[in-house]
């Protein structure tokens, strides 16, 4: 049967992605937004040669795709496998068909029609000043959670594949060299790129040969000492001028993203020949473990960027919309990049499902699955150690590049909130940056990366729900067909609030019962990974750390609920208005 190998899901997924792009997205484009190639875009109206200037759609597509690619679509499908591969696959293709691209494309188009404004001012205009402030506060918690989830995953992967850390170190050195060659020596880009790619390959080889120390030497995650060099690196990246480290590192990381996705897709499509089988069950149960929760809502917040992600709306409205040349470019850039991201999620799912049945869901298992999938095509067993480090570096690189950008974003948001207040010092460049990476460790100490990931997924997808509803509100105010955005927005809002509520309940339960008494009289922590913390600080320490996560969950739930109320009020307000107040 065709679904015995990853070939089946990959082929069906690719066909659906293509159909979505050439049919439904085209229909929405023409029916709802009616792009006019003669209508001047913000890139032309406000051309300043810095932020506003027209850029080719191919360049913007590449930029958008690289900017939205992160760890979500790589790791998320692994958690979704709790319910079997079929629900994960169905959610990826359904989201690709009806939700994911809708958010990226529509928020970009909305920004283009709104003079290139970003998410904050648009929220202010359509919803009022309070929701904008709520959004600001929400983003702070969102950034903390995304930092926590990604840091945890990176430390776990590095703990299992220490070679990936040395490979990351080579990437950082290569980034500094690349930045210097490009901006100081002014060497041609082609030569610099060649040097960067060679250094990248050397990094993988060094990582494969020097795969030291063995797992667990520096403590197993979440108590691993790997956090120290990782946080030091991220703080440096967030403080230094962008061309020094962040942008060259993003530039080089692209040369792992692109080959990794191609290799996984080739490995999955060739599986019908290589005979790599799907080993995980198609469906397990609607009710997962208590800590994960039932299929609804847990599945819909686990895959993150591979299905839908709020981060994308920030990218779509933050820079891309300001550089759209003609309105007809929005669909290939916004929808095209998101459907490519869906492909990243799909190929990652293909790597996860070839792992032996019963394999624990752990970040470090992704490289193992990727090696199983690709090694029959790319060099066989001899290449396996190199492929393992390559895919581990791919995960680490995707996480670290986005973490440095998030670190900067956190710093600016902190400055925005605390400047001119009595807590001015919290907006300080250095204080804010260090807090941005040290505070998430409090989440990490809960020990359960899956719960942190689901928290992050909940806030990330809730942000996507905000974006979809803002688009729906705008279209409603113009009396245009808005349901294609409003219905997914409502679904995401309800689902993510339920997911956050469930996870808050899990952490509240762990706060009240930090330890469980076994039949033999011994005690064990609620989250098994908290055993070292229990030995170190006793049940009191567990209560404190779990209470922290509970309070965070409650705050996010309340903000989400308040935003939902503001949306309902805004829809009602526009329903009462006979005219078209926001027409442009």
């Amino acid at each position: 049967m065709v679904f015995e190998t990853p070939f089946g899901i990959t082929m069906v997924g690719i066909v659906i992605f293509l159909l979505t792009f050439f049919t439904y997205s085209r229909w929405v484009d023409r029916r709802v937004w009616s792009p006019d190639p003669k209508r001047p875009t913000p890139a032309h109206m406000y051309m300043d040669g810095v932020e506003f200037f027209p850029v080719s759609r191919f360049v913007l597509y590449g930029f958008q795709w690289n900017s939205i690619a992160a760890l979500g679509p790589i790791l998320g499908p692994g958690i979704a496998l709790t319910f079997g591969w079929l629900p994960a696959f169905l959610w990826i293709v359904l989201a690709a068909l009806l939700i994911g691209w809708v958010q990226d494309y529509s928020s970009m188009f909305l920004s283009v029609r709104k003079e290139g404004r970003s998410f904050g001012p648009i929220a202010y205009e359509l919803l009022g000043p309070t929701p904008r402030r709520l959004l600001l506060g929400f983003l702070l918690f969102y950034l903390l959670l995304i930092n926590a989830a990604f840091l945890f995953v990176v430390a776990t992967v590095v703990d299992a594949f220490a070679g990936a850390f040395w490979s990351l170190l080579v990437l950082v050195i290569a980034a500094v060299i690349t930045g210097h060659l490009l901006f100081k020596v002014k060497m041609p880009v082609v030569q610099v790129t060649l040097i960067a790619v060679v250094l990248l390959a050397i990094g993988v080889v060094i990582g494969a040969i020097f795969n030291w120390p063995p797992p667990g030497t520096l403590g197993t995650a979440p108590y691993t000492l790997w956090y120290v060099p990782l946080i030091a690196l991220l703080v440096a990246g967030a403080i230094l001028p962008m061309p020094r480290l962040i942008t060259p590192m993003n530039y080089i990381a692209y040369y792992t993203l692109f080959p990794a996705v191609i290799m996984l897709a080739v490995g999955a499509l060739a599986s019908i020949v290589t005979g790599v089988k799907v080993n995980t069950p198609a469906f397990t149960s609607f009710f997962g473990p208590f800590a994960t929760g039932p299929l609804w809502p847990a599945l819909f917040v686990s895959i993150a960027c591979g299905a839908i992600s709020g981060w994308h709306s920030l990218v779509s409205t933050g820079l891309t919309s300001k550089q759209i040349d003609v309105e007809t470019d929005v669909r290939p850039v916004g929808a095209g990049a998101m459907l490519s991201e869906n492909l990243v999620g799909l190929t990652s799912l293909a790597a996860w499902i070839v792992l032996p049945a019963g394999t624990a869901v752990a970040p470090a298992n992704f490289p193992r699955g990727a090696v199983t999938l690709t090694s029959p095509v790319f060099g066989g067993a001899a290449m396996a150690p190199y492929l393992a480090i390559f895919f581990a570096s791919y995960m680490v690189g995707m996480a670290v590049t986005i973490l440095t950008i998030l670190g900067r974003f956190w710093r600016v948001t902190m400055a925005e909130i605390f400047s001119g207040t009595s807590l001015n010092f919290l907006g300080n460049k250095y204080v804010a940056t260090v807090l941005g990476f040290v505070l998430p460790v409090a989440f990490v100490l809960t020990g359960s990366w899956i719960n942190i990931w689901l928290y992050f997924g909940g806030t990330n997808q809730l942000l996507a729900g905000f974006a979809l509803l803002i688009v729906g509100l705008y279209l409603f105010s113009l009396r245009k067909f808005h349901w294609y955005s409003t219905i997914p927005g409502l679904f995401m809002m309800v689902t993510t609030l339920a997911a956050i509520a469930w996870q808050t309940n899990v952490f509240a339960t762990a706060t009240i019962n930090p330890v469980i008494r076994r039949p033999d009289g011994t005690i064990a922590p609620f989250f098994p990974q908290q055993a070292p913390l229990l030995n170190l600080g006793g049940p009191g320490a567990l209560t404190a750390i779990n209470a922290f996560s509970t309070v965070m969950g409650m705050i996010m739930f309340v903000i989400g609920l308040m935003m939902a109320i503001f949306f309902i009020r805004a829809f009602l307000r526009y329903a009462r208005q006979p005219t078209q107040p926001t027409a442009t």
Binding site: G62, P121, T413, E416
Partner: protein, 90 residues
């Protein structure tokens, strides 16, 4: 379109996608850095533009011819509302 035309347009598209993914973010960050430096530069000589000598006028008057052509675009940038959601990339 002939076969050659199709191949050359494919090659162009591929190179532009690669440029976009690999370098466009970097170029944008550099342009933004230049923008902030330009803000400072124009503010330094703003006094002389308005007729109020703040710095020793000899230097700022020599710089003025270089700044004047950019004043219009600078006003756009400087006075535009800049939200925290605008600063993801610097």
């Amino acid at each position: 379109m002939g076969k050659g035309g199709f191949l050359s347009s494919m090659k162009k598209a591929l190179s532009e996608v690669t440029y976009g993914a690999a370098l466009h973010g970097q170029v944008s960050a550099v342009l933004k850095t230049r923008m902030y430096i330009e803000h400072m530069f124009i503010l330094m000589i703003l006094g002389d533009m308005l007729g109020f000598p703040i710095l020793p006028p000899y230097y700022s008057l020599r710089l003025l011819p270089y700044a004047v052509p950019n004043v219009k675009a600078w006003k756009h940038r400087f006075y535009r509302e800049r939200d925290f959601t605008d600063v993801i990339y610097g």
